[in-house]
Symmetry: C2
Subunit: 298 residues, 2 copies
């Protein structure tokens, strides 16, 4: 079995199809990586590029992609609804197969070093790769956005981890780091009362005393006339999907409604789901590495 890493760079271009294609082509033209998804948002003026492959190949593709983004995207002219600080805004590395988080952190630091050396964009390490607690959250690093970065880099606590205390004139700065795969997990309620969804979201999310590695808000689905508990599971190995699902089910009953369905948006690691099967069927001593046929094919 080979080591596999996922990389999900966000670039600050969601409108110019040629530029987006040229950046994504850097991934397409790298050996031993596979482009899984390319999603562009015009109002955010931002694209999310998802690819996987061997650690060496993913590293290579991430640096080439950063270089191409820095050539084609001019942040002095960028407008969009989503907060951003660089042409390539954030480059997360995610362990998928036979990779420890430590190995992923080491890989992200190699990428950070090369992005500075070869593309001359100053780099902040974030999430599991962060060099200090105040740099773990992307939102904290990005506060002030592209326009505020020249001044921010001069503050005592905001020297970049790689590079000068001076932004790349058109490509800004970038956050590079390692994190767990994120699962976007939504649970739809029978009620259309978004207040109930918001109360349940508050119960489960970590920031208001709920489960670790769970972010959540209540939203209204106008087309379905349903309230939804919209959840980001930032580490399903810490808080598994079934724990959140069962809690939402109980809470929904408490408010006199019930769960109609759940959904996963985008990609999920196989184990986020197999963990749930193990839980619900009290499956004991199941070793997915040895017992899931597909694991021998990867």
């Amino acid at each position: 079995m080979a080591k596999i890493v996922e990389c999900v760079p966000n670039i600050s271009e969601g409108r110019d199809k040629n530029a987006i294609k040229a950046v994504a082509d850097e991934v397409r033209n790298t050996k031993n990586v596979t482009l899984l998804d390319l999603s562009s948002d015009e109002s955010h003026n931002r694209s999310v590029i998802t690819f996987i492959g061997s650690p060496e190949a993913v590293l290579e593709a991430s640096v080439k992609l950063a270089k191409k983004a820095s050539e084609l995207i001019d942040m002095t002219k960028h407008k969009g609804e989503h907060p951003r600080m660089g042409a390539v805004d954030v480059v997360p590395f995610i362990p998928i197969k036979e990779m420890t988080m430590d190995e992923c952190v080491a890989l992200s630091k190699k990428a950070a070093e090369r992005i500075w050396e070869e593309v001359k964009i100053p780099v902040f390490l974030y999430e599991k790769s962060a060099s200090g607690a105040h740099r773990v959250n992307l939102a904290d690093i990005r506060r002030g956005q592209f326009e505020g970065m020249p001044e921010k880099l001069l503050q005592d606590e905001w020297a970049p981890d790689f590079g000068e205390r001076k932004i790349h004139p058109t490509a800004g700065v970038v956050a590079v780091g390692a994190r767990m795969p994120l699962v976007a997990f939504n649970i739809n309620l029978e009620t259309s009362d978004v207040e109930i969804a918001s109360k349940i979201a508050k119960t489960i999310r970590f920031s208001s005393g709920g489960f670790p590695c769970v972010k959540s808000i209540g939203v209204k689905l106008e087309d379905k006339n349903m309230a939804q508990v919209s959840i980001n599971m930032t580490d399903f190995t810490t808080t598994p999907l079934y724990k959140v699902f069962e809690t939402v089910k109980e809470e929904a009953e408490r408010y006199g409604t019930k769960v109609v369905e759940s959904e996963i948006i985008g990609l999920s690691p196989m184990m986020a789901l197999i963990d749930c099967a193990k839980y619900y069927m009290n499956l004991s001593e199941f070793d997915e590495k040895k017992q899931v046929i597909e694991n021998y094919l990867i």
Copy 2:
């Protein structure tokens, strides 16, 4: 994504380690196949060899394996507890990835033809590849065993699908066919009363009016002092694991006991488990081909 087939030949040798190794080496030395498991049983005097790979490579390995088994195993001297009719007793082909059952049937017929042409063992097609209803079940084909085959082949309804109506003098005959992956799924009860497990097994198995593609017996686990409902799921896409699990849970309650745990023995396709996660969390519109990251790696 590439087509992947599994093949699980059973050979009539479980004691002579050198012979078993030599037969398994035919798989190890074939390109584009991976040996997943080799299990030998001395009292059965039988070994089960599990491998996967591209259809062409799996075909190649299966024919080479049959040839080597025919050279090293002499059925005129074979003794063992398990019923058997040939040196290579049965060769099932199982669709794992991007293969339809029809393609798997076609592959099994190619293997059958080559085993006759190149190894001179007469072949019965069985399961999904069977040429008649009386040849679907392996047990029906194998009845009479090696010793009874010379006479059986002369009966009107038992002409082999490939080859002469005369056994290979030392290698007998072989059954070749396509079938779904089998999941060995056991459910352990709090009670030690094997009668309850047997009653539940009778309720769920197809042969006594239960679910299609479910075989089941009640057994006593002496070491755990528990009764077990021991189940073979012969097609989890027809009857899924959760349906059997939930029924056993309800039946256990009816008999005043409960389910303690379940277990999967050996290999399982990823989807047998992901289907359960989808069921228990009411996961809607989940497309595993597009949404499970690992599916892009295979």
